[in-house]
């Protein structure tokens, strides 16, 4: 049973990984990575790492992938042209060599445990209780450093992705206006402070009478 589950999950993980690097559209690559992560969580469960598997699904396949999807939707994943560089031929060859080398290094390392099914299972192995105890006793310092690292990354991302300019130049402003016309009787803070002429002033009474739109019910049902 566990062997069948292992092969299904392993094939799923490898397929997802190959999908990430071969699909042209970045959006599909992200979806393939989600499949890969979920299959990897199954492998973690087979290795009796319950808490790591749960964190993998919740944090990785949930939160981080949503972040990716947002950025792909924002940037707009254009179709990528095939590059004609030598790396496109040398890269896969290097990867095959790397895989062979890693397999030789790990499987030929004469570790006794490699061909066994692992250490005898003790009740409670890999549960949040044990992991949390380890985090708060033996690995307290890495735990605190990790929290500091997360804070630094959050601040860094905000600093990197913020708007650097204050006000746009006139033509950019116009382009923005064309893209999203501002409704009447609204204004910006720059106009209120007097640093820029008021653009969306109230329409002239004649123009309003000329158009004279009938009060139509657009809302409701």
């Amino acid at each position: 049973m566990s062997a069948v589950l292992f092969f299904i999950a392993a094939i799923g993980a490898l397929t997802g990984a190959i999908g990430v690097i071969t699909l042209r559209n970045p959006f599909y690559s992200v979806l393939a990575l989600v499949v890969h992560l979920i299959c990897l969580a199954v492998l973690f469960l087979l290795l009796r790492a319950e808490f790591v598997a749960a964190a993998q699904v919740v944090v990785y396949a949930g939160a981080v992938m949503v972040l990716y999807v947002f950025v792909v939707a924002y940037v707009g994943g254009g179709e990528e042209l095939a590059g004609g560089t030598a790396l496109r031929i040398l890269g896969p060859l290097f990867a095959i060599g790397l895989a062979v080398e890693l397999c030789i290094a790990m499987l030929g390392s004469a570790l006794k445990g490699i061909s066994s099914k692992g250490a005898p299972y003790v009740l409670g192995f890999g549960t949040p209780r044990h992991i949390g105890t380890l985090f708060l006793t033996k690995y307290l310092f890495p735990f605190e450093v990790a929290s500091l690292l997360l804070l630094a990354a959050a601040v860094g991302a905000v600093v990197l992705a913020r708007r650097r300019r204050g006000l746009e130049s006139e033509d950019e402003e116009l382009e923005l206006r064309i893209r999203a016309p501002r409704p009447v009787y609204t204004g910006t803070m720059a106009e209120a402070a007097g640093t820029r002429a008021i653009e969306s002033a109230a329409p002239e009474p004649e123009a309003e009478a000329e158009e004279a739109p009938e009060p139509t019910h657009t809302g409701g049902w």
């Binding site: 490898l14 990984a17 990716y68 692992g118 690292l149 990354a153």
Partner: protein, 99 residues
């Protein structure tokens, strides 16, 4: 299943991720391939933790996940900044470090 099988899968995923980093040119996909490589390392760590019967490897795997989340955050921030400056989203053309 023997632990060696898990290690083999981990090595294959790592190699696939390395191939992706080398061949793809979209920085978004390169970040995804970095995730693949980090996940392969995670799988190896958890497999070794199962092999020895200690939970330290799982703690390492969780720390690796934290580092991966930080890397994703900063990397995606960089990509958004690139897009804001109307630079090409292509690592072959982004070969200057002008601020």
């Amino acid at each position: 299943m023997a632990i060696g099988w898990y290690l083999t899968v981990s090595a294959l995923i790592f190699a696939i991720g390395a191939a992706g980093v080398l061949t793809r040119r979209n920085p978004l996909v390169i970040l995804l391939c970095l995730e693949l490589m980090l996940n392969a390392a995670n799988l190896a760590l958890v497999a070794f933790s199962r092999m020895w019967g200690g939970e330290d490897g799982q703690v390492f795997a969780l720390i690796v996940m934290v580092v991966a989340a930080c890397e994703v955050t900063v990397g995606l921030g960089l990509i958004v900044a690139l897009y804001r400056r109307r630079l090409p989203i292509d690592v072959d053309e982004l070969n200057e470090l002008h601020g």
